[in-house]
């Protein structure tokens, strides 16, 4: 029983991180109709940034995390300005460009960081006894709380701020939102940056738990796409529920069925959702 609870906790911790990463994809799809295949690479880069900032340059780990996320945000903005902006109006082009970019970045990561998994130092050590039932690593607990903090921040940003409202308006009706005065090119740019930063946030949170490697990036993108499809396009709540569901199913499946199939569970869910509920758990049926 305690073992089960531990696997479940693992699933929830990974689940909230999944959710952050997936919201990054979902925002960009919802607002710009662009599928960012280079999502996983941004995540990996963030992991390496935080590793090198703290391990090689001696920046305190707690500062290295936001700094890495900020770098990824800038990279995201740069990507939108140079590569994505010229493709507006033709979804096929942006699809090809981000796909090519994902290959280029993955190989760049191999060149720059090498093929070895790297792991930034833990922020905390030891373990905590959870309700007297089992011991759970403090680093994972901290990652969980940081993730919850980030999720709350995103919900606040989207629901309450002018930027968030303009994001929602643009994703509902781009032309109308410019008629009320929203500069939608600027919103596009910032939300691409935000989407990238969320990939980065997931990357720096995960890196101390699971070391990052350049070749791991496709699985990360795929994972985010599965969550977005599962939760339903453009639904924040969907991303959170979808992320948790995938995290829990993967962890319980790996524990009780086989670790080898860990990544297969995601695909099975993806196929089931596409067959039975193609608009996702919280998405809306297209009219």
């Amino acid at each position: 029983m305690n073992e089960f609870l531990m696997y479940l906790t693992n699933g929830i911790v990974i689940g909230v991180i999944n959710a952050i990463s997936a919201i990054g994809v979902s925002l960009i799809v919802g607002i710009m109709r662009v599928v960012n295949f280079a999502h996983g690479e941004l995540y990996i880069f963030a992991g390496y940034f935080s590793y090198h900032l703290s391990a090689s340059l001696g920046v305190p780990p707690l500062l290295a995390m936001p700094l890495s996320i900020f770098f990824i945000f800038l990279i995201g903005i740069g990507m939108e300005r140079t590569l994505i902006r010229p493709t507006y109006g033709d979804e096929m082009y942006s699809l090809i460009i981000t796909f090519v970019l994902s290959i280029v970045l993955q190989n760049a990561a191999l060149l720059i960081f090498g093929p070895y998994p790297n792991k930034p130092p833990n922020l905390v050590s030891g373990a905590t006894n959870i309700f007297g039932l089992y011991h759970y690593g403090n680093q994972r607990l901290l990652s969980f709380f940081i993730s919850i903090g980030i999720l709350l921040f995103i919900f606040y940003l989207i629901k309450r701020t002018w930027f968030g409202k303009s994001i929602r308006a643009v994703s509902q009706d781009r032309e109308m939102s410019s008629l009320v005065g929203v500069d939608h090119l600027r919103v596009n740019m910032l939300s691409f940056g935000l989407g990238a930063a969320l990939a980065g946030a997931a990357g720096v949170i995960v890196a101390p738990i699971f070391p990052v490697t350049p070749t791991g990036s496709s699985a990360i993108s795929l994972n985010a796409f599965v969550v977005v499809v599962l939760g339903g396009m453009g639904s924040l709540k969907g991303c959170v529920i979808g992320g948790l569901a995938l995290g829990i199913i993967e962890n319980l499946g790996a524990a009780y069925l086989s670790t080898m199939y860990r990544n297969i569970f995601g695909f099975v869910i993806l196929i089931l959702v596409l067959v039975f509920r193609p608009w996702g758990l919280f998405g809306q049926k297209a009219q």
């Binding site: 002018w162 409202k165 303009s166 929602r168 308006a169 509902q172 009706d173 032309e175 109308m176 939102s177 410019s178 008629l179 009320v180 005065g181 929203v182 500069d183 939608h184």
Partner: protein, 234 residues
């Protein structure tokens, strides 16, 4: 206040507007009448910067706005109620109104402007927490007008105000338009429903296949034989 001079507008390869000239003076209500496909919506969208003319110019308060992007045009004081209302359906009524006040200088007085909109359309106050997509057609039109007022425009464009609304609601909304006009608002109405629009406006233009074919005071137009036949069905 608004001057459209000799504009030629294309959509793709097709020319929609042919040397169109018109103007709206401060404090007026002007109606543009036209059947489906006459180019009414293209005219509205050219003024709003959605399409840019190939030839000609558009000025507002003596500033050229011909090639300005849409978001800029709202910021300088032209606001619109587009055809089909286009409210943000997944957002709350209040959030829709907030979006109307998106331009920097409108945000400062958001609270007062909301109150003004509520006093014009009290139903919106009752519905403020409701998701906008669940409103009735008439309420959605009120919301669209309310949203357009939130930016504190000097010129309000309304495309197809009465489309799909019951006569009762249409009358109610025209009542609100009259009130706005008395408070000093300048309005440009783009309409198929000639009778109501002309009755409530000072001047009118008739748009046919992308050209202005007739213009005059509303009284003149209401008495015109061609208009009576083609638009009023008399």
């Amino acid at each position: 206040m608004l001057e459209v001079k000799e504009i030629n507008v294309f959509r793709g390869d097709a020319q929609i507007l042919w040397g169109l000239t018109m103007k709206v003076e401060r404090g007026e209500i002007v109606t543009v009448l036209g059947a489906n496909g006459s180019g009414k919506t293209t005219l509205v969208e050219s003024i709003l910067g959605v399409h840019h003319p190939k030839k000609g110019r558009i000025t507002f308060l003596d500033t050229e706005i011909t090639f300005k992007p849409s978001f800029h045009i709202t910021r300088i004081g032209i606001s619109c109620v587009p055809e089909g209302r286009r409210i943000f359906k997944d957002m709350e009524v209040y959030e829709n109104l907030e979006m109307g006040a998106y331009p920097e200088k409108a945000r400062i007085s958001l609270k007062e402007t909301v109150e003004r909109v509520y006093s014009l359309f009290p139903i919106l106050r009752e519905r403020k927490k409701q998701i906008a997509g669940t409103l009735s057609g008439g309420e959605q039109q009120m919301l669209a007008i309310g949203r357009a007022l939130m930016s504190k425009p000097t010129l309000l464009l309304i495309d197809e105000l009465s489309l799909g609304l019951s006569p009762k609601i249409t009358k109610e909304i025209y009542g609100a338009i009259k009130k706005l006009h008395q408070e000093g608002m300048t309005l440009l109405l783009i309409e198929q429903n000639a009778m109501l629009a002309l009755r409530h406006s000072d001047r009118g233009y008739v748009l046919e296949t992308g050209r202005i074919t007739l213009q005059g005071t509303s009284q003149e137009l209401l008495g015109n034989e061609h208009i009576r036949k083609a638009y009023l069905g008399m």
